[in-house]
Symmetry: C2
Subunit: 195 residues, 2 copies
């Protein structure tokens, strides 16, 4: 059965998207080392330390499908129809584009649980990644999330989009994390205990 | 020279004080083990695992003075004039109480930098702890903070007071943390790099 996993680079003050300097600070650890990790797109190739490279490679081979919100999709220009992770993508939206020709980026109008279900079917037993804060929150509210993987970056950004906002049911208990120290990042993998 | 250290138990979603269940969830790790750690007050004695007990004992012997905001002081009823850590406390306020008879809890009306200075003088070379989110923010803005120690609790609380809010200068860079895994908590000790 596919696990549903939220994985985000987050500052210590909880920010996952900053209006100006977020990419530089939140994703700087993807370019801190000498180990080249190629993705499907030249623009997205990474230069990582050995530890971080192992982790990113493992994530890339483990993920079978990704669920995003519409804003993330629009900001990424729909990944031009082909996500760098090389897997099918499901975008939750009320207003799907017409005449969208790309099979690997699909739009789901029936809500988050339906998108998760379709992503699981497409993932072929591999993991389903959840890639937008709003979708993560809806998965938490619906009890659909199995793991939260935080790439915790040692920076305070002060403002920007925070990963965790209000949740319908609280508290949500997590297990003690698996901890993988990185360079410019600390990887924390939590199992979601509350359903 | 005394280091100035912010140390808080914080949920993964950044909450350090919850209107209803915060104490239970944020400070539950203080009562997860068999090792008794006595404080100056019977009401505050801890039952910790060996690792967490070592850390708490070390903190207790390292701290020479604490700086709080007025609200924290009021919520704790002024610690009845004697803080459980057994060290002098400086409370930043515009309106100090009249006829306050307790020497070990002192009120400072000249602002946060003055309170830090007085706490350093009282700490005798030991650490100065900063104990309220608002005071931490002001220390960050003034470049007065040396370390941030987060006791990161694996729970999502959804609402409550967040440790980190807006900061005047951002980003503030931290070093990669010293990591001490605990039971129901992950201790992360960050050096503040940006001044």
């Amino acid at each position: 059965m596919s696990k549903v996993i939220a994985n985000m680079s987050m500052s210590l003050d909880g920010v996952v998207s900053h209006p100006e300097s977020g990419v530089e600070h939140l994703f700087g650890w993807y370019f801190r080392g000498d180990v080249l990790v190629e993705t499907g797109h030249d623009d997205f190739d990474f230069k990582l330390t050995e530890t971080d490279a192992d982790l990113v490679r493992d994530a890339m081979t483990s993920i079978g499908a990704i669920v995003y919100g519409r804003r993330t999709c629009d900001e990424a220009n729909g990944w031009n129809g082909s996500h760098p992770m090389g897997c099918p993508v499901f975008v939750v939206t009320h207003n799907p584009p017409r005449d969208w020709p790309h099979e690997d980026v699909r739009f789901v109008t029936e809500g988050v649980p339906s998108a998760i279900e379709r992503a699981k079917a497409a993932a072929g037993g591999r993991q389903v990644a959840v890639g937008s804060p709003d979708i993560v929150r809806q998965c938490l509210d619906a009890g659909l999330l199995d793991e939260i993987r935080i790439d915790l970056v040692p920076v305070l950004l002060g403002q920007g989009t925070r990963f965790f906002g209000e949740i319908a049911r609280s508290p949500i208990h997590l297990g003690d994390p698996e901890i993988i120290p990185g360079a410019g990042v600390t990887h924390l993998h939590y199992e979601v205990k509350t359903r």
